[in-house]
Subunit: 269 residues, 2 copies
């Protein structure tokens, strides 16, 4: 009996030793979604969430320690910075921890922007994160960079625990990927927002566009976007383009229509 | 026995009388996909395809009569014009048929553009059509307009036979819908083409963007685009925008980045 108990204790110690503790720094959408994704893992455990204001912390599980004081940040195996891009440099300098493993989660901030008092790494999940919109993390590409091989292995392991799509990428490539994501996600979403606005003014349901949007995206699975372009600009139908420009009342939208049509025409010259 | 035979003949006549014959005018992508969608219907039958050049006709089933001569166009219950937008007016005038039911399939051409020597209607499938890319026609919204109630009923019936998404819409609304489709489909596809170009230059696989694109589109099922925008412009992160602009080498793409970012910032003011 005593023997078994001792064995269990040894197992518990081993388990605790191999389970890595994580502190989340920042409490926005990236932190919220990462927290959910990491929550049920057996090898990693979030032990604390820090945020400069207490307000956003209420959305995190009550089982986590929460703090808005830098002095209260706990000892952990990994620190994940999710503060806004323009705050990363200052924030990583202000951290009181030293000699620890610290990653940020930004597409556009170089790894070297992190303070040199800790090991530096990047854990960039290429996804668009909103409050109350579920994310299938298993599909989300996670781009990894680290200034040390062992550290790199450790964050690759964490990434592989939450996603089937883990890639190594340096800061220069990651910036280009982020720019491409801005075009493919943010700008695309703005095209949808403009469409919605146009249709609302004519009492037409935006949902009518969902099949054509779905098809536009489905084509990307097997074809290059440039190969499957359609529409007036692709056909160089200047008469329809002129008509459309006359019918768009919003000045900015008119400019956008003109510029992207020119871009399509140029692409297919 | 004779009685049964006579009954069968009556049935055959009735069947032939109720099965509507269709002539497709034009042989591009819209005609090809419409032909496939109508092919297996029991109430409608395509009997002929016309195209001004013989070349494109070879892709149509050999069971159809094909012609490149206006004088050879057959008698039919319905004529579907699928020629390019800028050719519709002239083409419908040049048709030798009179007093027939004629529709065009364009989003941006008014119904009244069709020649008055025939009944006028519009049968606009809101979809992006490419060679060799399958279309799930059951989901495609078909926008219907006609200058006569019986005629309208007839083309609504055809539309409902190939799609579960049939709507009546006047020429003015249809033009606005087409403009919205250009933003949501053609311009979105150009955003993907630009992303592809950017990534190719950095040796990054475009497929990495598919999950974020899928999520961007999935959100539209339950949220308005304007509500779910993310990214540097939404956050008014002018530093990242400046960095991105410096990293985009293509002049036109730089202009597009700047203009759409401004548009997002303005939308979220």
């Amino acid at each position: 009996m005593f023997h078994l108990f001792s064995k269990l204790l040894t197992f518990k110690n081993y388990y605790l030793r191999t389970m890595k503790s994580i502190v989340l720094l920042g409490a926005g959408n990236v932190a919220t979604h990462l927290c959910k994704a990491i929550h049920n893992l057996s090898d990693f455990k979030i032990i604390q969430v820090y945020n400069h204001s207490e307000k956003s912390l209420i959305y995190f599980p009550s089982t986590l320690h929460k703090t808005s004081l830098l002095t209260e940040i706990k000892e952990a195996d990994l620190y994940i910075i999710t503060v806004p891009d323009d705050a990363i440099v200052t924030f990583s300098e202000r951290l009181l921890i030293k000699g620890k493993l610290v990653v940020h989660t930004s597409g556009s901030v170089a790894m070297k922007a992190l303070s040199s008092k800790n090991r530096k790494g990047v854990f960039y999940p290429l996804q668009t994160f909103n409050t109350n919109v579920e994310v299938a993390f298993k599909e989300v590409p996670i781009c990894i960079e680290a200034n040390n091989k062992d550290f790199e292995k450790e964050i690759i392991k964490l990434a592989q625990n939450i996603s089937e799509n883990v890639v190594k990428m340096d800061s220069k490539q990651r910036k280009q990927l982020h720019i491409a994501a801005v075009f493919s996600c943010n700008f695309t979403n703005q095209m949808f927002a403009i469409s919605d606005d146009i249709l609302e003014k004519s009492n037409i349901d935006f949902k009518l566009l969902l099949p054509i949007i779905k098809q536009t995206v489905n084509k990307l699975k097997t074809k290059k976007a440039i190969e499957v372009q359609t529409g007036p600009a692709k056909r160089k139908d200047l008469e329809i383009i002129k008509q459309h420009l006359n019918l768009i009342s919003n000045k900015k939208n008119k400019e956008i229509y003109k510029l992207i049509s020119e871009s399509i025409i140029k692409t297919h010259e």
